[in-house]
Symmetry: C2
DNA sequence: TATATATTTTAGAATGTGCTAATATAAGGA
DNA sequence: TCCTTATATTAGCACATTCTAAAATATATA
């Protein structure tokens, strides 16, 4: 089984053949959802935005200035975070008079997030995340 | 039910009382795992790093230059991504001669990621992420 | 209409991230 | 030992992100 030289760099370790690399690369580029998933994770993976997600998870819906008060942030900053969450279909909004209420969109991604948040609640810090599965 | 003025800003919409805000803020700061979870999501929420996670999910273990070849990146860049993933206990490494093999750490977080990646595989792009749950 | 409340948008500054190129470290083999 | 391979580290640049402050927009009410 002949090993493939990596393009610019030298690397002839105990790896894959050129044909195998081609297959792996093809399969990788076929996973069209990966980039979208990365974007969803990135938008959720901000401390303030995850707190927003948590608050909406815990309170069903909240307006911008409620969130600003809870997070001790300017409404302007909260609004910018909410726009990013809305762009990724993580939250939605409804208007009632001047007030705009935000809530989590019930989709597969937020449902996974809710599961993680529920499991995390009332637990020791980090216990959920870092506990290794030994099987 | 008297409404609370939000600190610097004016906001007396149909929101919570000061006492309720206190409780919500206290509960929020009690959720010690939120920041760690945000950090995990942020590290996973990078397109190249998620591809690394996907490749390790699909191939059990790979060395740095295998990953570099598949991702068409410099080994240096891959190595920097791997360090971030290792810092968050998402991947681990083992040495065999000069070669260092990386694999996913089997913990609750990576197990959730694997579930999402498995569900995403063989599906239409975006179908998994954006399909709304109507119940 | 004028004024107040609620939210959004924008510009700009500070900070963070991800890459390249160069260098360093580590292990194997001549 | 010297040279090659494999990986890691560092500095520095380009670009992205997040905040503040100010202005804009939208709605409600006197």
């Amino acid at each position: 089984m002949k090993k493939a030289h990596v393009d610019g760099q030298l690397c002839i370790g105990p790896t894959f053949t050129k044909a195998e690399f081609s297959l792996i690369k093809k399969n990788l580029s076929d996973q069209k959802g990966l980039d979208s998933l990365a974007d969803l994770l990135a938008v959720s993976g901000n401390r303030q935005r995850l707190k927003i997600i948590y608050l909406l998870h815990a309170h069903k819906e909240m307006c911008v200035c409620d969130l600003a008060e809870c997070l001790e942030m300017k409404t302007s900053a909260v609004s910018q975070h909410l726009r990013k969450l809305k762009d990724k279909n993580i939250v939605r909004s409804r208007r009632e008079k001047q007030t705009i209420y935000y809530s989590l969109v019930p989709n597969v991604f937020t449902s996974n997030l809710r599961d993680i948040l529920t499991a995390e609640e009332t637990k020791e810090p980090h216990s959920f995340m870092y506990k290794e599965i030994t099987q």
